[in-house]
């Protein structure tokens, strides 16, 4: 019996050999994928929400001076990002988490994903922002969640005068809000409705909004940059920040620069909510010293003075100067207020009830009856 003649065989079985080549190719790419992991890098991973932004030169300077490479991981809006951190507890996906606010603070603390750190910069911050006595959450900035409206749309049309007006037919189909389960301004707005209408009334208000065609999206950037009329969408009323009109003016490319912003705040009584954003070091991080340096850097004067024009919030540091354009940023005269304890005790239930009425279409009365 002759042994098989392989030279001829190689070309005859071209398809089979292409198969082997393909497998080799896959292994190659596999190796290419694994190799970078083997290389050593001191990188600090910071989990942030989608709206995080800081001046690139400041970041570059920090990386140079500290020798730490910064990697920013955008995890969705604040609620979504916090949930991801909680679901990966014990094997954290980042070293530092920035962007959860006072409405979500107790969820972060109760999940026990943060470790305490008393930054030397704490004494330079506004004392009323230091809500966490365990020093696990350090305040970085604050702002006001408020309704914004498109001036163009409402030029010849009446504006809502009271909070409850939003649910009346003459303002149907005009509002876009964010889902409080995933978004911090969305949650802040929900809390404002609870403060304004009370436990017995807020669900009816939301049922009214639902019947009035309110649109719900998962995050602030989707609402503001896709559905708001300023971005080409079809909703002239949006839940945003009291500084957003100032931002519109700042970024305006119209020539000559307009004297007033194209959007404005709609400060209906008790429709705005005070919001503080925090940074925390995640438990289980392998870069503790780097994380602490990062937190100190966030609280330093240059960064605190850069934050207003990057993220359109007020700096937590007491003597940080505000930019010129912030004279167009207004402070709501009558924001809604809830105590941290009220938020801690009821937040998850409020979110669940909101979901049942607005997303799932249940009747407010039925949901209240099942309390």
């Amino acid at each position: 019996m002759n042994p098989p003649d392989d030279t001829e065989g190689f070309f005859m079985h071209k398809t089979r050999n292409i198969g082997w080549l393909a497998w080799l190719g896959i292994l190659f790419v596999l190796a290419a994928g694994i190799l970078p992991v083997l290389a050593q890098q001191t990188t600090l991973t910071v989990l942030t929400h989608n709206s995080f932004s800081l001046d690139k030169n400041l970041i570059a300077r920090f990386e140079r001076e500290s020798g730490i490479k910064l990697r920013f991981l955008k995890g969705g809006d604040a609620g979504e990002m916090l949930n991801k951190a909680i679901l990966s507890k014990g094997a954290p996906i980042a070293d530092v988490i920035y962007g959860f606010d006072n409405t979500l603070l107790s969820r972060a603390l109760q999940a026990d994903i943060l470790q305490p750190y008393r930054s030397p910069e704490l004494s330079n911050l506004r004392p009323e922002l230091l809500l966490d006595q365990t020093f696990r959450a350090t305040p970085v900035d604050f702002g006001y969640v408020a309704l914004n409206y498109d001036r163009d749309y409402f030029r010849d049309r009446p504006l809502p005068q009271r909070f409850a007006d939003l649910a009346s037919p003459e303002f149907a189909g005009l509002l876009v809000v964010q889902n409080p389960a995933t978004s911090s301004p969305g949650l802040a707005f929900l809390l404002a409705t609870v403060a304004a209408f009370g436990e017995e009334g807020y669900l009816d208000f939301w049922e009214g909004l639902r019947k009035n065609g309110v649109r719900v999206v998962s995050g602030w950037s989707e609402a503001y940059y896709t559905h708001f009329t300023r971005a080409g969408g079809d909703r002239p009323l949006v839940v945003s920040y009291s500084t957003s009109p100032a931002a519109e003016l700042y970024y305006s490319e119209a020539k000559p620069k307009p004297s007033e912003p194209p959007t404005a705040n709609l400060f209906l009584p008790r429709s705005s909510f005070f919001q503080v954003e925090y940074v925390g070091i995640l438990k289980g991080t392998r870069n503790l010293r780097a994380a602490q340096r990062f937190v100190d850097w966030l609280l330093s004067k240059p960064v605190q003075e850069n934050i207003p024009t990057q993220m359109w919030v007020y700096p937590a540091r007491r003597e940080a100067r505000l930019p010129e354009v912030f004279r167009f940023a207004q402070v709501p005269p009558e924001p809604a207020r809830l105590t941290p304890q009220q938020i801690t005790n009821n937040r998850e239930r409020w979110i669940r009830e909101w979901t049942q009425v607005v997303v799932q279409g249940q009747a407010a009365e039925a949901v209240r009856a099942r309390r």
């Binding site: 079985h13 398809t15 790419v29 596999l30 979504e80 679901l87 507890k89 889902n179 999206v217 049942q356």
Partner: protein, 502 residues
């Protein structure tokens, strides 16, 4: 129990039964009341059932006349028949992006079907038609005898088909229909991306309960609801399979037709398939619209870079295959030589949804959350049955004569394995591996539930770009979907070639 099955049973116990048990326990506990009394979840269950049943009926109603047409020879017949199974192995994200490119909010056609049930039924037909059509066409030769008899007795062709053909086809229809029901009922990616909040299936509701509100008990109760239904239907399907076995070998040659009629049929059938699969065309068209996206997607600063996603997809697939190959082949051998109960146990992974697997792992293996092997285990679990089920018929079809001859001639078992059995089953093994590989590369549900930024695959890279403001993320998502589609298509072409090289 055959010793070959031991590693597989251990794997199943750790990777499936234990997490499933914990989910069931949690679901029966706290979550149960919340889920059963909540009208929203009951509505999700009702819609999932309706979607499953509707999809089955739709596929059957469309497949019946098509199968009749496929009895004849017309231009394109073989191509469309072979192509009808391709969509089934296409990744969810690719199909969803295709639909979004054609009939979504940024759709080519200007018609926006996002958030309607019609797009979901279309997607179901797109995916599942092949599941009903192929077995039907293979079964048609068996009809010729009875149909001939009916014709002789005076029935018209249509009447013969209706009164004689279809009842004979019933087992195949029910069998294929049950599979379509199972896949539609447990659908995740398509309703998540195309259905909007109003048309979420149970699986989507489970994911939302987990990801948005960290509500583990509620999510577990929903998984339990799903398991009950899939268990019942799967049991039904197995009974059908047991009572009716069909050899898919030996197709009857298609009958010739007069030229005019053949062309007419070619247009009709071809036209229908082009319309059905047009989302794929829409996807490719959209991808070509913006060349800039092809460049920016590989290193995007705000999302997972396309390059990392591609590396991850290939690397994870490779790693999972290392487990799938021994697991799947051992299992097939054990079933071939062993008890029936092994066969049914092996179908369990098909019953459990990927989101449930992810949920289970989050619940019971928190210390493994950072380990890549958790994700690889999920991939292995969800894909090794594909290898087993492809390999088993080949093993069962091994000519006993050849094996016995080898034994008589004095070959020891291992030599028999390498020189006789392996060459005979290699094409099926390759085919099964290719199927498993395609399934892993396109996996979405478990990957989304267990997601970690360093584990982002192509599917996740597409998903995170959707719903973000601006046109660039959308076009980047389209590009990535095309890359994924190209990978899977290349695999399937390789599969076809190796099957014909037998």
């Amino acid at each position: 129990m055959h010793w070959l099955a031991l590693p597989v049973v251990v794997f199943l116990a750790l990777a499936l039964l234990y997490p499933l048990g914990r989910i069931v326990a949690l679901g029966l506990g706290e979550g149960f009341v919340a889920a059963i009394t909540d009208p929203y979840y009951r509505a999700r269950l009702a819609w999932s059932l309706a979607y499953g049943l509707g999809s089955s009926l739709l596929c059957i109603l469309v497949a019946l006349p098509l199968a009749y047409a496929f009895r004849y020879r017309f231009p394109g017949r073989d191509f469309w028949l072979a192509f009808s199974v391709v969509p089934f192995v296409l990744p969810t994200l690719v199909v969803a992006m295709g639909f979004l490119s054609l009939v979504g909010p940024r759709g080519l056609l200007g018609l926006n079907l996002y958030g309607t049930p019609w797009i979901l039924f279309w997607a179901s037909l797109f995916y599942n038609l092949g599941l009903v059509l192929r077995p039907l066409v293979a079964l048609l030769p068996k009809l010729s005898g009875p149909m001939q008899a009916a014709r002789t007795l005076g029935a018209s062709p249509a009447r013969a088909y209706l009164r004689v053909g279809i009842p004979l086809l019933a087992p195949a229809l029910l069998s294929g229909g049950s599979l379509v029901f199972l896949f539609s009922f447990t659908s995740f990616g398509v309703p998540l991306l195309l259905g909007g909040p109003g048309w979420a299936t149970l699986e989507v509701a489970t994911y939302h309960a987990l990801a948005q509100r960290l509500a583990f008990p509620e999510a577990s109760a929903l998984v339990l609801m799903q398991l009950v239904v899939t268990g019942v239907v799967l049991g039904f399907y197995l009974r059908l399979q047991a009572g009716w076995a069909v050899g898919l070998e030996g197709t009857e040659t298609p009958r010739p037709l007069a030229r005019g009629r053949a062309l007419g049929l070619a247009f009709g059938v071809g036209g229908f398939f082009v319309l059905l699969y047009s989302p794929l065309l829409g996807l490719v068209w959209r991808a070509l619209e913006r060349p800039a996206a092809w460049i920016s997607v590989w290193q995007s600063p705000d999302f997972t870079p396309g390059l990392l996603a591609l590396q991850n997809t290939l690397a994870f697939a490779g790693l999972a295959l290392l487990l799938v190959f021994p697991l799947g082949t051992l299992y097939a051998y054990a079933v071939w030589r062993g008890a029936r109960w092994l066969d049914e146990l092996g179908l369990l992974p098909l019953m459990v949804s990927p989101v449930a697997v992810g949920l289970g792992y989050l619940l019971v293996y928190p210390w493994l959350r950072g380990s890549i092997w958790l994700l690889i285990a999920a991939y292995t679990l969800l894909s090794y049955p594909l290898l087993t089920r492809t390999l088993l018929p080949a093993l069962r079809g091994l000519p006993r004569g050849v094996l016995e001859a080898a034994q008589v001639l004095g070959a020891p078992p291992w030599r028999r394995l390498i020189r006789v059995e392996w060459p005979l089953v290699r094409p099926s093994t390759t085919a099964g591996l290719a199927l498993a590989l395609a399934a892993i590369m396109g996996e979405f549900g478990a990957t989304l539930t267990l997601q970690r930024p360093e584990w982002a695959t192509l599917s996740l890279a597409v998903y995170e770009r959707l719903g973000r403001p601006g046109a660039t993320p959308f076009y980047e998502a389209v590009v990535l979907a095309v890359v994924l589609m190209a990978l899977c298509t290349a695999l399937l072409l390789g599969l076809q070639k190796s099957a014909w090289a037998r």
